[in-house]
Amino acid sequence: MRVRLDINGLDCPHCALKLEGMIKEHPEVKDASINFASKLLLVDTHQDVDEDEFAEKMQKIANDFEDGIEVSVRD
């Protein structure tokens, strides 16, 4: 399943790369990519997930990475 999340507050494009690497290690995540320019976190998950719950999990990873990053479900 493809989940599209807004990601705000990232410091720099290569921090985005690092965070992307961390998200890829999450067991539910098949693939992930952050588009720094469009502030989009695109995640392909192995199984169908509840988007809001999933966004919270991603928020947790972001919190472990840096302060001030906000992850939310894209409208």
Binding site: F36, A37, S38, L40, L42, E66
Partner: protein, 633 residues
Amino acid sequence: MMLGIIKSITPKERFILAGSLAVMVLLLIKRGELPLVLTLGLFFIAYIAVAYDVVISAFKTLFIRHRMSEQFLMTIATFGAFALQDYPEALAVMIFYKIGDIFEEYASGKSHEEITSLVKLKPSFARLVKDDGSEEMVKPRKVKIGDVIRVKAGEAIALDGVLLKGYAQVNLAALTGESMPVTFKEGDEIPSGGINLSQVVELKVTRNYRNSSIARLINLIEDAAANKSRPEALITRFAVWYTPIVVACAALLALVPLFISGESWADWTQRALVFLVVSCPCALVLSVPLSFFGGIGAISRIGVMVKGSIFIENLARLKALCFDKTGTITYGKFKVTEFKVKDDKALAYLKALEEQSTHPLAQAAVSFCTEHLKGQSVFKANEVKEIAGFGIEGEIDGHHVVACSKEYAKNLCGTLDLSAQKLGTEIYVVEDHKLLGLFVLFDEVREDAQELFVKLKDLGIATAMITGDKKEVAQVIARELNLSEVYAEQLPDDKLKAFNEIKKHYGLVGYVGDGINDAPVLAASDAGIAMGQFGSASAVEASDVVIMQDELSKIAKTIELSRKTLSLAMQNMIFVILAKLIILILGALGMAGIWLAIVGDVGLCVLAVLNAMRALTWVKNKVDLKELKTAVV
């Protein structure tokens, strides 16, 4: 633009940056002249004001998350400069680091805004009509299928829906790149993303927001970043190793005097600082993907969707392009191009027979006859039977009538005293062994096909046609359009084989089809281009590039823009890597000071990003909301 950047930060930040910049300049020109206490006092005030958040965040990340962030590296660099008593340099590292940051933020925000006219058209609300006729403004994703929404003149249509009554003039430029308004009538489905140019209309929603045209399109473009091109993949790998290696080198440089006696600590510390300052690969990591992102945005404005930067790269390097014939090079609609009749009855007979068939040829024949007969002498055919592969027969008005191929007609009549001049599919009408007339039907070549093939030749791209149609027909078209190769009479399974043969010969090969029966070839190609009126989900799924309106000539334009995009990305990549390498080498040799490093790093970032943003200006935005609103009567 400068104004835009300045506006993007708060007055407080502006004040701090300007203030610390002034202190930096003062310390620089009065170096050694001011009393030490005053120098230190000014330095600390400015440094704390500009750097406290960076320093705090740096140590937080280090102690809580056990990670060296780039903020930490910058902090170390300023400490180093301070230790060397290079006070203005210490300030400069921090100030320009922040300016670079602000610039990156601005560039990414700006590009996101400008990348597509779509984002501007992304509907932020819908007017939901309630049972009592009153309306409520809601978020588009809250609207359900079957709900009725109201769209006022000049507003974007938020969700796909069927027009409830009357007519609507809609500008679909965001979806198709075509700014001529399209007229919809009652019962038609209007795609979201269009702008209503007529009076207030009401739509019954047919798809929820998530699956609506505009949302699918925006996702297509934004997801495109996930299909990384080779330069982007290279940059990603480079970036992962770059920082640790440069930082390790910095550490080694700082330790040199420990091993070589007589070397000055200050000198080598300075060399190490140069490395720290340029240790962030930001300019690279932002500018290359930004180039591709901008390219995808520019291409979207001519009504072509590219599903990833990898396909931009493939399109740019394309050696050959294969085409399906029916529906791609041709309109896919047969037309009568020639007819010879001994008796007008032939028209009426043909119509009566072919009315019973669903073949595309039959439909073309019927519409032609209907037009020519203008309602006179209508017959009814009985006992109509298909003669598989040859034609159709039946009983009309007491006669045995056959509409058939040349061979079959020859068998019936012996010799044929009519013959066709034009090329195409021939239909002979025979009444009781008597030839009555002959019709030639042809699937016409698209108007803009010629233009496309001339342009492709100019671009140095070989062209081939793969079709299931007859050799003669295929060859005529190929000669007319000057195609390099033709593969005719190919069954659907053979198409892939023919394609692979071409691919073996040329390398990078694209395929253009309608996405309906050539999905395997589309998938096998390096760039599968689908011609598809917007909304054909199968075409969008199977292909890498979607031409939103059936305009062949847009393919050449897309390839041109792809080439521009790729060269822009390569330019940025080579420029940034070279510049960083030169600074590093000069720094290691002790020939580059901290100033050069700062200019090299932040200046580079600004230049590369500005260069990448050029892509946004290649295609002028066709949808100008303000202009549209004034155009509404």
